[in-house]
Symmetry: C2
Subunit: 119 residues, 2 copies
């Protein structure tokens, strides 16, 4: 049985606002995993891990499949693309800052090369 949930930027960003859930996604990037294996690095109960997985599922970031007694989780990256797209609009702001910093450093290097005293 595969469960699907609707997702939106609200649920995606909320899911990403927790270090355990981000670590779970990183683990799932290496391949599918059972809930027990996802819980292990955090010394966390099955119930605790399952709660985090449920939040990831609701955000559409994880697909949980019940195989016999095991809950197997798989990464679903598509909603991350939406989050990335939202962030892309703001890229010019941090790029502008980096360009300005680079210009200052280059001007300093040029001044040094000319042997001028540094302000």
């Amino acid at each position: 049985m595969v469960q699907h949930h609707t997702h939106s930027l609200d649920t995606v960003f909320h899911a990403l606002a927790d270090p355990t859930r981000r670590a779970m996604l990183r683990r799932l990037a290496d391949g599918e995993s059972g809930i027990g294996d996802l819980a292990a690095p955090f010394d966390m109960s099955f119930a605790g891990a399952s709660k985090h997985v449920r939040i990831l599922e609701r955000a559409g970031l994880v697909r949980r499949e019940v195989r016999g007694r095991t809950h197997v989780c798989t990464l679903e990256a598509a909603p991350l693309a939406e989050a990335d797209q939202w962030l892309n609009f703001y890229q010019r702001f941090w790029t502008e800052r980096l360009d300005a910093l680079e210009a200052i450093l280059k001007a300093e290097d040029a001044a040094k090369a000319k042997g001028e005293p540094k302000a």
Copy 2:
């Protein structure tokens, strides 16, 4: 007076998990703004808007400057670059999916061009 706050991915993603706060950032991308102007599109009280701005400040996404009786807010995009960097690791997953989809569409086009029946 300029206030600075520490920020991390937790507080940044939490700040972005709300449509009002995302809309406020979008507004600030067009230039600095008073709290009242930020509140206006949402039919929101000054106190309500101020609470959202406080969460954005804690995430390091907004700088609030008190000028006389006005609180002027400015966008600080640097923490968004960190969020973007975190998401970039997962880009290969959604890119792979798009590549696979493109390959299927191309194969279908090629089959059509040859006049073969579509499965």
